[in-house]
Amino acid sequence: MSTIQPKVDEPVSEEMQLVHAAQGGDVGSFEELVKRYDRNVFRIAQHITQNREDAEDVVQDAFLKAYGNLAQFQGQSKFYTWLVRIAVNEALMKLRRRRPERMVSLDEDVKTEEDSLPREIADWSPNPEQQYNQAELKEILTKTIQGLPPSFRTVFVLRDVEGLSTEETADALGLSIPAVKSRLLRARLQLRERLGRYFQKRESGDGPK
């Protein structure tokens, strides 16, 4: 079975030239960085906040915070990883404001009842996503990922949707590498288990029960 291949990285040196120019006050260079990463920041923010308006605010706030603190960026990590760290923090703040009754933290190592061995082993249809139209599929995927605890959801989005490495994800979230790996495994297994309700092979051609 082949493994999952990470997305190809952008060239770093050219990016550092933009960062240096922006640090020197060139707003045009900073705009190039915004163009490069605004879609990523928006996706991450919406996955974390689960709210479109909050995600829009996070895009603005994260880039403005990055601009205001560019002098602090010394290039120890990639600019993108540094930006993601800022964006995740902004998104978590929004989430906490919206749900003050629930503690939202990336540090909490949530134990869920689905942490044991997979219960549902039934195989999926060969092309499960083709069982549904695009709107139905998006709804299924959105509902499913929203059911994960924020700490699992964030790790899964950074690693598997945005294609950050384990090390970059750990760096962006301030977690240890074993913590990232543990959350990622559990997030992947929980999503798999939940999607199985929609995608598993059926004897009849009926939709999900």
Partner: protein, 84 residues
């Protein structure tokens, strides 16, 4: 290798982050354990479906509106800093 041990290594296996020996042990397990094969295969599909899903794409009009707002505020901040 037991199924629980396989599962612990599943993420490293899917990410191609295993040494050759452990990878061979996992693949041996996969060759005869149908349940683990299914879990592995459907987990891989889960990742691929989400990666290709384009769930929260930024529409072009909103994108340019956000970018204009960001750039305007950066320029404003730059002017303020320069006049200080």
């Amino acid at each position: 290798m037991k199924c629980s041990e396989f599962l612990q290594e599943l993420t490293n296996y899917l990410d191609g982050a295993l040494d050759a020996r452990t990878k061979a042990e996992l693949e041996d397990h996969l060759s005869w354990c149908h349940n683990c094969y299914v879990v592995c295969d459907t987990t891989k599909k889960t990742i691929e479906i989400y990666r290709d899903s384009e769930l929260y794409e930024l529409p072009d009009d909103l994108r340019s509106r956000l970018r204009s707002a960001i750039v305007a505020k950066c320029q404003q901040r730059k002017k303020t800093t320069e006049t200080l």
